[in-house]
Amino acid sequence: MSDPIAVGYLRWIILAPLIGAAINGLLGTRIQKAAGKNAIAAIAIVPVLISFVLALNAFRQLLSLPADHRFLLDSVSRWIHVGHLRVDMAFWVDPLSAVMILVVTGIGGLIHLYSVGYMHEEPSFWRFFAYLNLFMAAMLTLVLGDSLLTLFVGWEGVGLCSYALIGFWYKEWANASAAAKAFLVNRVGDFGFIVGMFALFWGLDQTGQGTLVVREIAQRAHLLDGQLLWGIALPTFITMALFVGATGKSAQIPLYVWLPDAMAGPTPVSALIHAATMVTAGVYMIGRLNFLFSMAPATLHVIATIGVLTAFFAATIGVAQYDIKKVLAYSTVSQLGFMFIAMGVGAYSAGIFHLFTHAFFKACLFLGSGSVIHALHHEQDMRHMGGLRKYMPVTFSTFFVSTLAIAGMPPFAGFFSKDEILWQAFASPHGHWWIWLVGTITAGITAFYMFRQVFMVFFGEYRGAHGGHHDDAHGSHGAHHGHAVHHPHESPGIMTTPLIVLAAGAVLVGFLNVPGGLGGSHRFETWLAPVLEPAHEAPVHEPHGLVKKVEHAAEETLEHAEHDPLEYLLMVISVLVAGGGILLAWLMYVRGKIDPSFFSDAWAGVPYRTIFNKYYVDEIYEAVFVNGALGLSKMLAAFDRVIVDGIVNGVATLTRLVSQADGAFDKYVVDGIVNGVGAVTMWVGARARAVQTGHIYSYLYAIVIGFVVIMFARLL
C-alpha cells in the first residue's frame, strides 16, 4: 500500500455533528425556548450537511487518484502510547469508508430533515436532535477510525446513542426496558469484540509487531499464521471473537433479540440506526478486516451459516407480525443475514453492496411507515390500516417502490445486490448450494411478507376510522388525542421529500454494480477492489497484504466478462420465487382467495403460534441468562453477607467472649490481689477526670496538638 495522503478535514466530518450535539445537548432547552424548534433543527442539520459535503469532497479526492493510492489520512493527535501500544486519534478514508460515510451522512441527513416534521410536536425536540447528532458523530468515528480502538469508540458510541434514542420516551417502562436490553445485548457483542481485539494485538505483539492500526494489521496479518491459542488457530479465534461483536451490533443469531424491541424508539431512529447505519457496523467491521477473516475459513463458514439461518428465521417471524414497524424490524434482521451470507462466502464487496442498497430502501420503508404512523396518530397495528393508497399517494408510491426493491424485483436496487449475494453463495469457493437454496426461499418469504404489509396498509378499505385509538407507542403524545377521528392525510413536504429521494435511490443505485452477465461492469466492486478481496480469490491467504489485491482487481473485472450461464438461471429462479411470494400475498390480502387463517390454523396452529411468538427466544433468554445472572448475583451477595461478613463478625464476637473471660479473670483474680492499690487509683482518677471531659473537642485538641508536637519536636 502506498503512503497515505495527509489531509486535515476528515476530523470535521466527525466534529461538526459532535459540536451540533454539544450545543443542542447543553443549551437546547434555552435555545428552544428563545428561538424555537427551527433553530434547534438548523443547529442539528447544518453540521450533517457539512459532514456530507466533506464526505463528498473526500470521495471526489479519492476518485482523482489512481486506484491503489486511494487513501486519505487525518492524524489529529497522539492518543494512547503505552508500552507497545501505539494508537493515535487518526481518521482515514479509503474506498470502503468513503462509501460508508456517504451513506451515513447522506441518508442520515435526509432522516434529520424528516425528523423535523415527524417530531414537530415533541416537547423535548432539542434532546432528540442532540442524540441524533451524537449518533452521527459516533457512527462516523466508527467508520473513519484508523485503528480498532478508535473504531471501538464509535462502536460503543452508537450503542450509547441507540440506548438514548430507544429510551427517548423513557416514561414508558417498556421503552426503558427495550433501551436497556439493546445496550446490554450489544455489550455482550462488545465483549466479544474486545476479546478479539486483545487477541489480535497479542498475536502481533508476540512477533514484536503489535498494533491495532488497521492498515498495519493488514500488512502484518500474515504473522498470525501458525500461531495457536489453546489449540485454536489464532486467526480463527480472533475472527470468531470479532464476529460475536458483529452479531451483537448487526443483530444476528444469537444476539438479534434487541433489534425488534428497539422499535420502541421514534420512527426516524428506527430508520437511521436500526436499519440504515448502526446495524451495518458489524458488516462494515468484517469488510474492514476482510483479510483477517479470509485467513480463517472456519469462521467464514460459521458466518455464512449464521447469516443464512438469521435471514431465514427472521423472515419467518416477519410473516406473522401485525405491527408495521416490527415487520420492518424483522426484515432488517433478515436482510442483515443476507449481508452476512455474503461476508461468509468471502464475497465482501457483494455484502457491502447490499448494505449500500439496503440503506436506501430500508430507510425509505421505515420513514414511509413513520409517515403512516404519523398520519394515523400513532397507530401501528396494520389490522387498523388499509386503503391508505388513496390518502397518501407519495408515501404509498415510495413505499411500494422500496418494497419492490427489498423483494428483489428487477431492476430495483435490491435485485442487483441480493442476486449477487445468492450467486456468490452458490459459486464462491466458500459457498454451498444449500446456502443458496435457503437464501432463495428466504427471498421468496421476504417478498411475501413485504407485500403482505403493502397490501394490508395501502390496499383495500381503511379500517381505522371506526377502530378508535389504540395504544400509543409512547406516552408523550397526548396532544394528538385532541384530533377528531378523520381520514388520514399525506405528510408534509419536509417528510415526503426524503421519501422521494430515498425511493429514487432504491430504484437507481442498483445500477452501480450491474454484473457482467447483464452487460455491466461491476463498478461498485471494482471501486472496492483495493480494499476488499474479490470473491473469486482462492481462500488461501494472500500474505502481501493489500498491494497484491489491487493487481488482482484488474483481472477480476475481466473474469466477470466470461459469465456463467448458470448465473442467468439462478437469477430467473430467484425472481420467480419472489414473484411467487408476491402473488401469494396478493391472493391472500387483496383478492381474499386464500384465508390467512388457513395457515394460522394449520396443524392446530402450533407452527403459527411458534412463529407469532418469535420462537419464544426472548422467553428462553430471560429465563436462562437474565434470571441466571440475577440468581447468581443474589447468591453471591448472600454469600458475602452471611459467610464472608459472618466470619468477620464471628471473629469479633469470639474476641469479645475471650476478652470477657479475660476480664472476669482480671476482675476476680488479678484485681483481688491489687485491691489495695485501688484506693490510690481512685485518688488519681478523681484528679485525672478533668482531662476526660467527654467532649469531642478536647480529644481533638489532644490529637492534633499531640501530632504536631511529635512532628516538630524532633525537627526543631
Partner: protein, 504 residues
C-alpha cells in the same frame, strides 16, 4: 516554595484544622469559609506541581529530607514520583470538592471540618512519605479522623461501621508494623528509608521477602479492599456522610494499591513476581467479577456503588499484577480515574439522599422527568463507570486488560466479561431510579443545585477530557512505571538467582 511545596501541601490543612478549632462554635459560615480556604492553596500547589513535574525521569522530585528521630535513623523524607503525584493531585482536588460538599453538615460542624482537614493532611502525607516510619505515622493518623467522621456524622449504624472500619484497618496496620520493623532490622545499617530499602532488595532472601510481602499485602489489601477483606467497605460507605464516602472511595482505597506499588514492588521484587503471578491476578479477577455480581443484587443505591468500587479496584490489582507496561500504566491510570468517577457517583447518591432521605433503589422511579439535570449528571457518571469509550475509565480498563492478555488470556476474558455485568447493574439502576413513570411522592423535588453542580463540574470535565486525551496523566506516570517494572523484573531475577545460597 519550590522545594517545600509538598510540606506545605501536607501541613496547611493541619494548620487549617487548628484554626478551625479556634473559631467560635456558632459561626457556621466562618467555619465553612475557613475550611475551604485551607484546601485552596494545596489545590493551587497541585496545579503548580503538575506543571513543574519532570515527566522524563523516574526519580523522586520535590524532595525534602531532614533527620527526624536520628537515634532510629528516622527521617522526614518526602517527595513524589509519577506514581504518587497522581494521587497527590487527586487528594488535593477531592479534598477541596468534599469540603464544599460538606456544607450541609450541621451537627458539631467545627469538629467535622477540623477532623476533615486533619484527614486531608494525613492523606497527603501518606502519598508523599518516602520514609516507612513517616508513612506509617501518616497512615495511622488518617485512621483516627476517619473513625470519628463515620462514627459521629454517619447514619443509623454508624458505630458498628466505624468500629468495623477501625478494627479492620488496625489489623492491617499491625501486620504492616511488623513487616516494617522486620525490614528495618534486616537492613544493615537499620533504615526506614524506602528508597534505601529498595536499593538493597537484592540482599533479601526469598523466604524473608515472601513473609514480609504477605504481611504488607494484607495490610494494603484491607484498604483496597481485596476479597475477602472487603466487607467493611459497604458498611462504612452506607453509614458515612456523602463527602466522607467520596474521600473513602476516591482516595483511601487507592492507598492500598499505592502501598503495594510503593513498598511491596520495589522492596520485595522477588516475592512480588511470585505472588503477583498468582495471588494478585487471581484476587484482581475475583474482585472484578465478584464485586460486579454483588453490586447487581444490592437494593441500597450507596451499597451498590460501594460494591462497584470493589469491582473497579479489581482492575487496579489486575493491571499491577500483569507486570507489563500497558497493565501497570493502566492500573495507575485506573486509580486516578476511579477516584474521579466514583467521587461523582457518591456525590450523586448524596444529592438524592439529601432530598428523599433514603437510598432504596426501588423506592424511586421516573426522576428523569422531575430532576432532568441531576439525571444528566448521573448518566455521565454511570456511563463513565461502565467504561464507555470517550470517558476516562475506558482507557485504563483497556490498558489493564490488554496488558493482562499477554500472561493470562483466560483470566483476561473472565475479567472482561465484567463489561456486561457492569452495564447490567448500572442500566438496571438507571431504569429503576430515573426512568419510567414519575413517582408521585417525589414530584416537585428540586433539581440539583448550584453548589452540587459546582462539585461535579471539575470531575465531569476530567472524566471527559481524560477519555479523549489521556496524555496528561499517562505522561506523568509512564516514566516511573516503566522504571518500576524494570526494577522489579530485573531485581527479582537477581534475587531468585542468588536465593539458593541464602537461608533466611
Amino acid at each position: 516554595m519550590p522545594t517545600n511545596v509538598l510540606t506545605w501541601m501536607i501541613f496547611l490543612p493541619l494548620v487549617g484544622a487548628i484554626v478551625v478549632l479556634c473559631l467560635p462554635r456558632n459561626a457556621a459560615n466562618l467555619i465553612r469559609g475557613t475550611a475551604t480556604f485551607f484546601t485552596i492553596p494545596p489545590l493551587i500547589m497541585a496545579v503548580w506541581l503538575y506543571q513543574h513535574f519532570d515527566r522524563a525521569t523516574s526519580d523522586m522530585q520535590f524532595v525534602t529530607k531532614i533527620p527526624w528521630i536520628p537515634s532510629f535513623n528516622i527521617q522526614y523524607f518526602i517527595g513524589v514520583d509519577g506514581i504518587s503525584i497522581t494521587m497527590v493531585l487527586l487528594t488535593a482536588l477531592l479534598s477541596f470538592i468534599c469540603i464544599i460538599a460538606s456544607f450541609g453538615i450541621e451537627k458539631a460542624m467545627k469538629a467535622y471540618f477540623a477532623l476533615f482537614l486533619l484527614l486531608d493532611a494525613a492523606m497527603m502525607g501518606v502519598f508523599c512519605a518516602l520514609d516507612f516510619f513517616l508513612f506509617f505515622v501518616f497512615w495511622e493518623v488518617m485512621l483516627l479522623p476517619m473513625y470519628f467522621l463515620i462514627g459521629i456524622w454517619g447514619g443509623p449504624r454508624r458505630e458498628y461501621a466505624a468500629i468495623k472500619f477501625f478494627l479492620y484497618t488496625m489489623v492491617g496496620s499491625v501486620l504492616m508494623l511488623v513487616a516494617m520493623l522486620a525490614l528495618y532490622f534486616y537492613a544493615e545499617p537499620h533504615t526506614f528509608d524506602l528508597l534505601e530499602l529498595a536499593s538493597r532488595s537484592g540482599s533479601y532472601s526469598t523466604g524473608f521477602q515472601r513473609i514480609a510481602w504477605i504481611g504488607l499485602f494484607i495490610g494494603f489489601a484491607i484498604k483496597i479492599p481485596a476479597f475477602p477483606f472487603h466487607t467493611w467497605l459497604p458498611d462504612a460507605h452506607v453509614e458515612a456522610p456523602t463527602a466522607i464516602s467520596v474521600i473513602l472511595a476516591g482516595v483511601l482505597l487507592k492507598m492500598g494499591t499505592y502501598g503495594i506499588l510503593r513498598i511491596n514492588y520495589p522492596i520485595l521484587p522477588a516475592a512480588t513476581l511470585d505472588f503477583a503471578f498468582y495471588l494478585l491476578i487471581a484476587l484482581g479477577t475475583w474482585n472484578i467479577v465478584y464485586g460486579a455480581l454483588c453490586a447487581m443484587a444490592q437494593t441500597d443505591f450507596k451499597k451498590l456503588i460501594a460494591y462497584s468500587s470493589i469491582s473497579h479496584m479489581g482492575y487496579v490489582m489486575f493491571g499491577m499484577a500483569t507486570m507489563t507496561s500497558e497493565g501497570i500504566n493502566g492500573a495507575v491510570l485506573q486509580m486516578f480515574n476511579h477516584g474521579t468517577v466514583t467521587a461523582m457517583l457518591f456525590l450523586l447518591v448524596g444529592v438524592i439522599y439529601d432530598r428523599a432521605h433514603h437510598r432504596e433503589i426501588n423506592g424511586f422511579g421516573g426522576l428523569a422527568g422531575i430532576m432532568p439535570f441531576y439525571t444528566g449528571w448521573t448518566a455521565l457518571a454511570f456511563f463513565a463507570a461502565m467504561g464507555l469509550p470517550g470517558l476516562s475509565a475506558f482507557i485504563s480498563e483497556v490498558l489493564v486488560l490488554l496488558g493482562g492478555w499477554r500472561s493470562y488470556p483466560a483470566l483476561t476474558i473472565v475479567s472482561a466479561s465484567a463489561v456486561v455485568l457492569t452495564a447490567g447493574y448500572m442500566l438496571w439502576t438507571m431504569q429503576r431510579i430515573y426512568l419510567g413513570k414519575a413517582n408521585e411522592k417525589y414530584v416537585g423535588l428540586p433539581d440539583i443545585n448550584g453548589r452540587e453542580i459546582f462539585t461535579l463540574v471539575p470531575l465531569g470535565i476530567i472524566v471527559v477530557v481524560l477519555g479523549v486525551y489521556p496524555r496528561p496523566v499517562l505522561d506523568l506516570i509512564n516514566a516511573s512505571l516503566v522504571h518500576l517494572n524494570q526494577v522489579v523484573a530485573g531485581k527479582a531475577q537477581v534475587a531468585l538467582a542468588t536465593a539458593g545460597n541464602m537461608v533466611p
